[in-house]
Symmetry: C2
Subunit: 335 residues, 2 copies
């Protein structure tokens, strides 16, 4: 079942087998085909590990996702990351790589793993993992950019475009005081959105209202409630997570405000829960992001400079009832 058996069976040397199967050396086409046939017949599968050792590559790409030390997800949107991960896994396989999951919490584990490349999802400022791997000369691609850092290879959505677009959407529907509810400004996503929001406010002569909340409905609820009780309460809310947006909807109801009549709500990103709540949302396609990141890191691993060092994945707005003029009627359980 080794290359030697194949060589014996085909009556050639192992070199020829290797060449024939990998399309490398100079070799007669007839010989090549014969060897391939014999290998096929014998069900020969090259040992990945041996190949890695000789070839200097492990065939492994790491996918790092923020996690807390206790093993809980620190990430805010499980569905989003799952889809990203899933698409990345398949894209990696298609290119001959396997994706290994790695938790940021298990730093020690990184050392025991020989990775050809690394994808870091939503890196934070001075991201230690990125720094570590770059230091070792291992290609790193991030989805979302590393805050306060230029260069590097990344895949991202342009929230400098998406944010004004959704704010315009709300304004076009009558909003005059739009509040932003966001997560802690540690990822580029969060920072970009805040910056874009502030710029938009300046341009539209509106005073910024920014609130920060944990990535939970309850936090969205409480935060929104506080905002709604302020003197100059907002008439629209853009929430940086669907869960926050849902919390905002609940708060509106608790405060007796109709949606979208008295309060418009929009969220990012779109989700099943958001759909269920008829929430206007910015669609950020996790599959595309995952695939693009894998393509980029594979290019880097194989020594090709990727077509683009930075990939902007387009977003779009899905308008739903939470920002429509017509009041959002509660059609669900009876009151």
């Amino acid at each position: 079942m080794g290359i030697r058996e194949v060589a014996d069976a085909a009556g050639v040397s192992i070199t020829t087998v290797s060449h024939a199967l990998n399309g490398k050396g100079r070799i007669n086409e007839r010989t090549r085909r014969r060897v391939q046939q014999v290998a096929e017949q014998l069900g020969y599968r090259p040992n990945t590990v041996a190949r890695s050792l000789a070839g200097g590559r492990s065939g492994l790409i790491g996918l790092a996702i923020a996690q807390t030390s206790d093993g809980e997800f620190a990430i805010s949107d499980i569905a989003f990351y799952s889809h990203l991960m899933n698409a990345a896994t398949i894209a990696a396989f298609d290119r001959g790589y396997a994706l290994v999951l790695a938790s940021g919490a298990q730093e020690a584990a990184w050392n025991n793993l020989w990775l050809d490349g690394l994808i870091v999802v939503d890196p934070i400022r001075d991201d230690p993992l990125c720094a570590e791997f770059r230091g070792r000369g291992i290609p790193v691609v991030t989805t979302g950019r590393i805050p306060e850092e230029d260069g590097g290879h990344w895949v991202d959505c342009n929230h400098f475009e998406a944010t004004p677009a959704i704010l315009d959407h709300l304004a076009a529907r009558g909003a005059r005081r739009i509040a932003l509810i966001g997560t802690a400004p540690i990822t580029s996503y969060s920072l970009d959105t805040r910056a874009a929001y502030q710029q938009w406010c300046k341009q539209h002569d509106q005073e910024p209202m920014i609130a920060v909340a944990r990535a939970e409905e309850s936090a969205g609820f409480e935060t929104t409630q506080k905002l709604l009780r302020r003197a100059g309460r907002p008439d629209a809310i853009y929430a940086m997570l669907d869960r926050l947006a849902i919390g905002a909807l609940l708060a509106a109801q608790a405060e007796g405000l109709s949606v979208p009549g008295q309060l418009q709500v929009a969220g990012c990103t779109d989700s099943d829960a958001g759909k269920r709540e008829h929430l206007t949302a910015i669609v950020v396609p996790p599959e595309q992001i995952g695939r693009a990141a894998v393509a980029m890191v594979a290019d880097l691993i194989e020594g090709r400079e990727p077509p683009e060092q930075h990939v902007w994945v387009p977003t779009r707005i899905v308008p739903r009832r939470s920002t429509r003029r017509k009041a959002l009627v509660r059609e669900r359980l009876p009151a």
Copy 2:
């Protein structure tokens, strides 16, 4: 940075370095410590791939999750699997393994990967992946059992216990005609639940009402609607997925039935969305399942027979408003 450099620096042979670092051969404690110190100082990290080749192990455990060919999740409960995966990743790292994700769709990819063991989530009857790996002599652990198959190593929740328990719960609150809405009976989970449901019905002299639906709210909605319009409509529903249960809630509302007054609803498993909807649910702990599966497969890989060939992970019921006597008041958006 190889073992040779360490050997040179410490003035010993590479054998001694290997032994010293792995605690293997007979070696003077002083020498061992010195070597360890030198290795530490040089920042030596043994090459995993070389180690694998020599040791005959890759250090990789596969985690297979059903996926459709187009890369979409075929799984019904993303959050559940994410938590399972996450816990498994960490548990694997703790044991010196890395978890590689693999899509069932990419069968070819499995061949290019040298896995020490495999975890298959929710295997189906005659699961090809399980068969393939067992054929190769690679340890396989499933979460959920392979239908129509005895033996094997698995981690599962006992739905033969959980199902009667939730049915009793509903009956104790007045339900006389409990319907079951389930996914296609291809996993042991689905099959067990159906069987347990039927047995319970027989024991309680109730006619079984089983409906099958796709794992989506809309399917739960439609299926429930049909049930509710039948002659002898159910007064309680046990849905085998939280998404189906949520669909059932919506259907109850659409039909003008109060929950739980006129219709009780319970689901499995528990979820954020379910909590939001005040849904009584069976808690199936994905983290525990993931950890148990890793522990078991690691034992098998390392040649230890695991403490138990089968692990039953306990479940529990979380009663919420959807099965309480007091009517479920809609406290959310205004009607």
